[in-house]
Symmetry: C2
Subunit: 207 residues, 2 copies
């Protein structure tokens, strides 16, 4: 009942309806929460809506993909790839920029990244040429990389991609590792799936 | 761990971080979903982010509260108050513009509205002078209103406000009604609270 096309009565002005339609396209926002967000914006026009619109214009004008690693950045080469301190010879391979951000939030990795831009997927017909895998092979050869850390999702597609990359990097001399699988911090066994418990038991360590 | 202030490493460019901070202020979006939304926006710069920024600028420039009813609109007097067909002598009193939009979506009410802008609340020290109650009393006298429909929430504050309005409108000759309470359409008794079942039983009708 929410979004009948061509409903005869308009709730608000055309400008507001247009804004709601656009906001509803954001991930995590449906028509209902988009309306709520727009009402909030209208109430805070000067304090929030105008700065937000300006910030979007700024990002739309400046954001681009790093030519080296695929990270989103304001420059042709991102600040991680420009930072000489991070030339540790380690490359962490992630699926998406969101995963790169998650790794950076953990503040535990000091090397550089390589963003694939997705995973291999037969169902969605995403092949190696659609991802940044050739570029990764080239970087491993050019940058004298000693270790490639595969930080891909523990999904079928993620693991398929990991195996494909392992094949592609064979013979380059770089050590290939992947994130450990096991019980997440704060996780209770009762709520864990069988697969995780199996993986954690198989990879058990002396205490 | 998400939003440490002054975290030493920046995930993205300053522009993107500023946009994430602003997006996270929207209702329903936390830091995590704001990041997800911004990544989506960055990927769809031309198709979504620029139009969204433009739409926000348009609304920020044009949106204002209707001088008569308090609805959000692009003009000094909203399209409902301007529409002569809706001068039915009925005024529907709602708490917020979101409630007005919800009533309009139902397409069942043909009169005009009055947006209070909140409810009386002793805890938040919101008194009658903070709401549009004096303006409502004036409208009922000026516009020859025959019926005032109280469409306020079935909360303590909503009902307090309803009683206050009933007192304020006493002697104006306008009939005062309120929305029926009962089982919502599609509602299952098993999932309803005691209060709703009590109200529905007390207001039972012959079948």
């Amino acid at each position: 009942m929410d979004d009948r096309p061509g409903a005869p009565r308009q709730n608000a002005s055309e400008e507001i309806e247009a804004l709601i339609t656009l906001m509803a396209k954001l991930p995590g926002l449906g028509p209902r929460s988009a309306r709520r967000a727009v009402l909030h914006l209208v109430k805070k026009r000067a304090l929030l809506m105008t700065p937000l619109a300006d910030a979007m214009h700024n990002v739309a004008a400046s954001a681009r993909e790093c030519l080296v690693c695929g990270n989103i950045s304001g420059a042709e080469v991102c600040h991680i790839c420009r930072n000489e301190k991070r030339a540790t010879g380690e490359i962490c391979v992630v699926e998406d920029v969101a995963d790169l951000w998650a790794m950076e939030r953990a503040q535990v990795f000091g090397g550089r990244y390589h963003v694939l831009g997705g995973t291999l997927s037969a169902l969605d017909s995403i092949g190696p040429e659609d991802l940044r895998i050739p570029k990764l092979v080239q970087r491993v050869a050019d940058e004298g990389v000693s270790e490639v850390i595969l930080a891909l999702g523990a999904t079928v597609d993620g693991q398929t991609t990991a195996h494909y990359i392992a094949d592609a990097l064979e013979g380059t001399g770089a050590r290939l590792t992947s994130l450990a699988q096991g019980v997440p911090i704060g996780g209770e066994l009762d709520y864990l799936d069988d697969g995780t418990i199996t993986a954690a038991l198989r990879a058990r360590r002396s205490f």
